[in-house]
Symmetry: C2
Subunit: 413 residues, 2 copies
């Protein structure tokens, strides 16, 4: 059979790792698919002509940063009838519906395993193994950079700034890390997972997200005494009145399975009545690991079972609408610095009580003008917690703005 000519867009860490892996595994790919793969053209920021590369290729691998150029290239590739494999989560979380639909019309494959959780096969499992399953919740750790930073802060009690610098030194955080540490990267991935899990369009604008930039060594130390570990958690879940998709720092009980996922590893749990739960974990980043996920998609796209215009390109949509729910219940950790006068705790408790919630546990530290209260609050609506925090912040005994962080504790949720 003919060679498989691959046009490679992008030649950074993942792009060059993919080229090397492909050379190493070419024989194996030929055994599996009957076609020997070769890189027929490479587009980098400075070199290569996209139109010429497209013309000379059978399949396009898109590994560039940013959305606009990638959108144009992927769109044009699909329109030209090329199978496409991409690792671009921002692209799919913005233009996925359009691209999946276009791929369906043109009968080409659009692979995107590498866009979420690197080589952890969560996309394939949702699209194929669990396609017929009514999924209740997908949640986990989907950003390796922030998990590395939080792991380092937990392990060494260092500051956020020092942990970020260390991650940058190790090559796990970019010089401009805002997409990772601000939560946008994880939000894009959760939009894609929610799209597959619930069969409704979910875009990054539907995802509420917070990052880890404001987390302090003090937050982590305070919570350790309560047996809690901090992670950046992405959640996509079915609620009574719709779905919620969100990313935020959260304290987990130290015995929670996700609490022991450390370093740059990712882990995703899928829950459903029919399967109980499946958890998948592994490296969420890294050139060679992401390149392996891309290669898996390339092989799948050209396997005899699929290379005939009959495709498994994308998510289907359901007839029933599922609205996006913005305000959900959560337990909370609340840290307040107070001047310790009679009635302080009663006043705080009352404000929380007025919002319909109660306090699970309180630890007081220090005395006099610089006392600290660390509380865990039973589940309440996020909007009502925000109201309580605002009112508490107005008390004259408050010494600094209260700090609220969500707690995931299956025990009482």
């Amino acid at each position: 059979m003919s060679a498989l000519r691959i046009g490679l867009l992008g030649h950074g860490t993942v792009g060059s790792a993919f080229a090397a892996l492909l050379a190493d595994r070419a024989q194996r790919v030929e055994e599996l698919t009957g076609r020997r793969p070769e890189i027929s053209g490479i587009l980098t920021r400075g070199t290569g002509d996209f139109e010429a590369i497209l013309e000379g290729s059978d399949l396009i691998v898109e590994l560039i940063n940013g959305v606009d150029d990638a959108h144009r290239y992927v769109r044009q590739s699909i329109e030209a009838g090329r199978d496409v494999v991409t690792a671009n989560k921002q692209l799919l979380s913005r233009h996925g519906e359009e691209l999946w639909e276009l791929a369906r019309q043109r009968g080409v494959q659009l692979g995107f395993e590498a866009a979420v959780a690197g080589v952890v096969p969560v996309i394939r499992v949702l699209r194929e193994s669990l396609a017929a399953t009514e999924i209740e919740r997908v949640h986990g750790i989907v950003n390796g950079t922030t998990n590395l930073i939080l792991s380092e802060m937990t392990r060494t009690s260092c500051s956020y700034e020092d942990a970020l610098a260390e991650a940058q030194r190790l090559g796990f955080a970019e010089s401009n890390p805002s997409d990772d540490v601000g939560g946008a990267d994880a939000a894009a991935k959760m939009a894609i997972l929610a799209r597959l899990a619930f069969d409704v369009p979910v875009r990054i604008d539907d995802v509420r997200y917070e990052g880890i930039e404001k987390i302090t060594a003090g937050d982590i130390a305070n919570a350790r005494e309560l047996g809690l570990v901090l992670k950046l958690i992405g959640t996509a879940e079915r609620l009574a009145d719709g779905i919620s998709v969100r990313v935020h720092p959260a304290f987990l009980n130290a015995a929670h399975p996700l609490a022991s996922v450390n370093g740059s590893f990712n882990a995703v749990t899928v829950e459903s009545a029919a399967i109980t739960e499946i958890t998948m974990s592994g490296p969420g980043a890294g050139g060679i690991q992401t390149a392996s996920a891309v290669l898996g998609d390339v092989v799948a796209a050209i396997s005899p079972a699929r290379a005939n215009g009959q495709t498994l390109v994308g998510p289907v949509s359901r007839a029933v609408e599922l609205p996006i729910v913005a305000d959900v219940q959560s337990a909370f950790y609340l840290h307040v610095e107070v001047a310790d006068r009679p009635g302080v705790l009663a006043a705080i408790t009352q404000k929380i009580g007025e919002q319909g919630a109660s306090i699970k546990s309180v630890v007081q530290r220090g005395l006099g003008e610089n006392a600290q209260l660390v509380m865990v609050i039973h589940p309440m609506l996020e909007s009502r917690l925000a109201q309580a925090v605002e009112q508490i912040g107005e008390f004259d005994f408050i010494r600094s703005p209260p700090r609220a962080i969500r707690v995931i504790d299956e025990e009482f949720e």
Copy 2:
């Protein structure tokens, strides 16, 4: 499009759960595949005629116990051009090569996700996501019954017999549990995983296995003091001179990721230079969970991408032979009851030293005629450990046969 007529062989726990799940998810399967599924015939031990069911079906789901009837039915179904989905690990670990080849010739799908680790998608990940990856090792917990028994023995310090009775009471162990507790079930699963991981035929006869019937509450209690947890571990790994596939009880360091997999859950880790490692875990047994894995295979078999005679039926084979290695290195826990006389430890140490190994740690308990020595021995060939144990057993100061159990401690392996 036409209905999808499913012939169901077997109507036990999994078979009846599958029929119920299919009825519940029929609409969704139709959305995904364009065909509405229905059960067109059921074969049970007492009722139904196989030939008539085959004639009236488009796809056969085989969920019966035992090998011989299942072999005949599956063979005949493939020959008649029917796609087949089976959960029968014993069948595939004995006749897989023949059936995969037959399916390839006839251009039909043969799905077997449910044969290993229930709904944990390890088969799909090995066959598809990692098809082009050079895999070094697959290992994990692939039998839920034994994991439940060992978890119970660890949690309550009860005897093997009491834990087995409890598992039987809960419906997690059969009245004749020998396939599970003797290791044959896990061995069949590891044969299938090794077949997919290494692209060479592996049959259950190639798998060396031991069960958990001889494990005592004392073994578990002794090891706990050393920070070790007992699991039944299946391993398929590439060695310098071939591959080793084996199942045996093993002590794990309490911090090992598999040490915290409890109850009837399964967990499998796949290792390779290109992916580092991926771990998948979830329920390894249970009617509805296994039925979910079967349904995933049914959907995959009839998806438009595949339902055209171009198949992804089975493992390919490699040109290079990989011999099965029978004798591998392992660290060991060794428990001996001795009359405590001068020179006892020196004599034991010398026998182990003569076999080329050394002792990592020793704990002595008791004194006089009923002392106990609990040792951890650095990695050595299993055959040489067996020689040392035989020689140690002949010393006149030995009070009962020495007990040796493998230890998996990545720290010094």
